[in-house]
């Protein structure tokens, strides 16, 4: 310790965050965390004051998705901590690096059912990569360093640090500490050593499998983005001329405009992506986890495929599907080594059979494109049309954040993702209400980029109050609200699988008045009801940069998302759009 600087734990906490290169945090103060909010006034860190703690968590996630840097949220104890459990779980399932600081009642009060006390570390144990309850002010710098280290290395994820009030409150002698720069040695993590380099022998084995495969597919997931491996993936795919499917978490990891890109697989994936996996003889899975929404009924999934599975988390290898070659490692490093191993084996080979494979795929693409029927004049807008217009009236590097439901699937299907880190959504947990706060977080992290949130009316009503945050904090996001007055995806399931018995899915067409509500929150509100109004409204929204804009698109509630693999069915039983049904064998 070179400089013997004495300070309170609260000051040390903020200083430690500054030292961790935190430039912005999202939060809301309250009793137990009050002493930490005082030093924020003098800090270089920008604090975004949210309207609900869930918003703080999703903003931190959106920030992390867009920038690759860990998102930071800070809230008080008790109900604030429980309000942020959903974003923690969301970040846990989607491997989003995030550090959450929660206030806690003073140490002596823990366990007494004190005011705003809850067992935060107990509650969040199952939804965080790790959590800490700090008991000494002196431990704050090393704990913060450890929290960022754990959140950002290995398989990224959320880390929570629970801080009792007495160790940060300057009026309490327990808060006195001597500042030090925490080093890696201070972290004391004897059980945490993530491996990043893949085993060379397994990589060679993978290269050999690839060389002989006749119907190979690169199945890439969110791990490509987490490991900053988009460029390496492009090199691998081009060298091998192997087609690529990008899962919901990996949209943008490989450019949609590339001739090798087949798009999204899974429950609402396009026909070619789903069938390419299904008929493949070798799936090269990179940073994906064989989620049930991708595999469909497991015992009918890609029955003839051998599996190469690369993941930084060894627990994913073989968790769902038995692997032929399982490689633990960072996707970027493993892909680079794999490229080298393939070159050693004489570079790419293109067996004759692969030509047939490619022509099968392009045949499917031609036969089964994504389709929808444009609405008749005077009828409600088609949501797909709105997405197409949104896509065509925004630059390629626009960041798109989505909620969860039909609109999310339309967004993933109809947008064109040509750059990594332009797509932000809640994949694993499927958190309705994710898009608005996530878009705000993304815009805070990437202020020069245009950020659109695509939302449904069900989602919008869950977190819309964060548009107040966006207005007041001057974060001019844009929201495309697809209002079909229903919980659309649930409605679709009730229509298809519950004999059209619609139970508790109708919200309301006119209540709330979204335009007035948006205006009340400081945004510009626009309502669009007919196709010819769509593009002009988007253009108008794009011209407004001093406040958030909400466009309410009144869309057709009867529209369903196709293709669809019904739950419990194999991917071969994919339902195409009814207009294409006659084209199936």
């Amino acid at each position: 310790m070179s400089d013997k600087l004495r300070m309170s734990g609260g000051e040390a906490l903020i200083k430690a965050l500054e030292r961790a290169h935190v430039e912005v945090m999202f939060g809301l103060p309250g009793g137990a965390i009050l002493p930490v909010y005082d030093p924020i006034i003098d800090s270089s860190i920008r604090h975004i004051l949210v309207r609900h703690e869930q918003g703080a968590g999703h903003m931190a996630e959106g920030y992390a998705h867009a920038t690759g840097r860990p998102g930071v949220a800070m809230v008080t104890s008790g109900p604030a901590a429980t309000n942020i459990v959903t974003p923690l779980c969301d970040a846990f399932l989607d491997s989003v690096p995030m550090v959450c600081i929660t206030g806690q009642v003073p140490l002596a009060a823990i366990g007494t059912d004190a005011f705003q006390e809850c067992d935060t570390t107990g509650i969040t144990m199952a939804v965080t990569k790790h959590n800490f309850l700090v008991t000494e002010a002196q431990d704050i710098p090393r704990t913060i360093r450890a929290a960022f280290h754990i959140a950002t290395t290995g398989r990224p994820g959320p880390v929570l640090v629970d801080i009792p009030k007495d160790i940060v409150d300057p009026v309490n002698p327990r808060s006195v500490m001597t500042w030090y720069e925490a080093t890696d040695a201070d972290m004391d993590l004897p059980g945490y050593h993530p491996l990043t380099q893949g085993d060379p022998e397994l990589i060679r084995a993978a290269a050999q499998l690839i060389q002989t495969a006749q119907r190979p597919v690169l199945y890439v997931g969110g791990g490509i983005l987490k490991s900053r491996a988009a460029e390496a993936l492009l090199e691998l795919a081009e060298m091998l001329q192997i087609p690529v499917v990008t899962t919901l978490m990996a949209r943008g990891a490989f450019p949609d405009s590339h001739q090798l890109c087949l798009g999204m697989p899974g429950m609402h994936g396009n026909y070619t992506a789903v069938m390419a996996m299904q008929e493949s003889d070798l799936l090269i899975s990179l940073g994906a986890r064989f989620d049930d929404r991708v595999t469909g009924k497991l015992d009918g999934f890609a029955p003839e495929a051998k599996i190469i599975h690369v993941d930084i988390d060894p627990a994913e290898l073989g968790k769902v599907r038995k692997v032929d070659v399982g490689i633990q490692g960072d996707c970027r490093l493993v892909i680079e080594d794999l490229c080298a191993a393939l070159r050693e084996l004489g570079g790419a080979v293109t067996p004759e059979a692969r030509r047939a494979w490619r022509s099968t795929l392009s045949g499917w693409q031609e036969k089964f494109p994504l389709v929808y029927e444009q609405s008749e004049p005077g009828h409600k807008l088609k949501p797909q049309y709105v997405l197409e217009e949104l896509r065509d009236n925004n630059p390629d590097d626009t960041i798109l954040a989505s909620g969860v439901g039909q609109h999310q699937m339309y967004a993933s299907q109809y947008w064109r993702f040509n750059h990594p880190y332009t797509w932000i959504n809640s994949g694993g947990l499927g958190t309705m209400g994710f898009s608005i706060p996530a878009a705000i977080g993304a815009k805070v992290g990437k202020p020069d980029r245009r950020v659109w949130a695509v939302d449904g009316d069900g989602c919008f009503q869950m977190t819309a109050q964060e548009l107040v945050t966006a207005s007041v904090e001057n974060v001019p996001i844009k929201v495309a609200l697809l209002n079909n007055s229903y919980l659309g995806m649930v409605r679709q399931w009730q229509e298809m699988f519950y004999d059209e018995r619609f139970s508790e899915v109708y919200l309301s067409e006119n209540i709330p008045d979204y335009v007035k509500w948006s205006e009340a929150m400081g945004c510009v509100g626009i309502r669009v009801e007919s196709p010819e109004e769509v593009a002009p409204a988007i253009t108008k929204a794009n011209a407004i940069n001093d406040r958030p804009v909400v466009i309410e698109f009144r869309t057709d509630p009867r529209e369903n998302v196709f293709p669809m693999v019904p739950a419990g069915k194999t991917n071969s039983e994919l339902l195409v759009d009814p207009s294409q049904e006659h084209l199936r064998r």
């Binding site: 144990m125 199952a126 309850l133 754990i150 993590l189 059980g191 060894p314 627990a315």
Partner: protein, 163 residues
């Protein structure tokens, strides 16, 4: 315990910190794995504790159990010990009814099994007995006819065979 090979012993070295046992137990509960038995105590190194548990490999995919445990930040080391590769013991404390008419028979049984008498009065005898888990099961069966008043078993602990 029909097939003794069903039960594998997993030895973990964990950081000796508050809440670590809750993390391990929570993981088992969340992933739907059943713990057959569990023994926890500090090691010779104060920083670490040793948790030995027995899992039914027919109820849980052992590889996943080990991999998921490994993801816990506080878990430092994990070793899986199949029955053929370890020496295992379990300790039982048991209080048995021992009125005058059964007492002699019970004392013979205790002698035969090399259990220890820890305390006795005219009505009851308290014993300790340590052996492999299967032997404890057998001994328990032998004691039942006398009337078991109270019993505590520790769960299995194990060390690898000497190499």
């Amino acid at each position: 315990m029909s097939n003794p090979d069903r039960f594998h012993t997993i030895v973990t070295i964990v950081e000796n910190k508050p809440g670590v046992l809750a993390r391990v137990a929570g993981l088992f509960a969340r992933r739907g794995y059943n713990i057959e038995s569990l023994a926890v105590a500090p090691t010779n190194e104060e920083r670490f504790s040793r948790i030995t548990f027995t899992v039914d490999v027919e109820s849980a995919p052992l590889e996943q159990v080990v991999k998921q445990l490994n993801k816990l930040i506080n878990v430092v080391e994990i070793r899986e010990l199949p029955p053929s590769e370890c020496v295992s013991r379990e300790l039982m404390l048991v209080t048995v009814k021992a009125d005058s008419r059964d007492r002699r028979e019970l004392m013979e049984l205790i002698d035969d099994w090399r259990a220890y008498v820890l305390a006795e009065n005219t009505k009851k005898i308290m014993l300790s007995f340590s052996a492999r888990t299967a032997r404890l099961d057998e001994f328990e069966e032998c004691l039942k006819p006398f009337g078991i008043v109270e019993m505590q078993r520790t769960g299995r602990v194990a060390l690898p065979l000497l190499s």
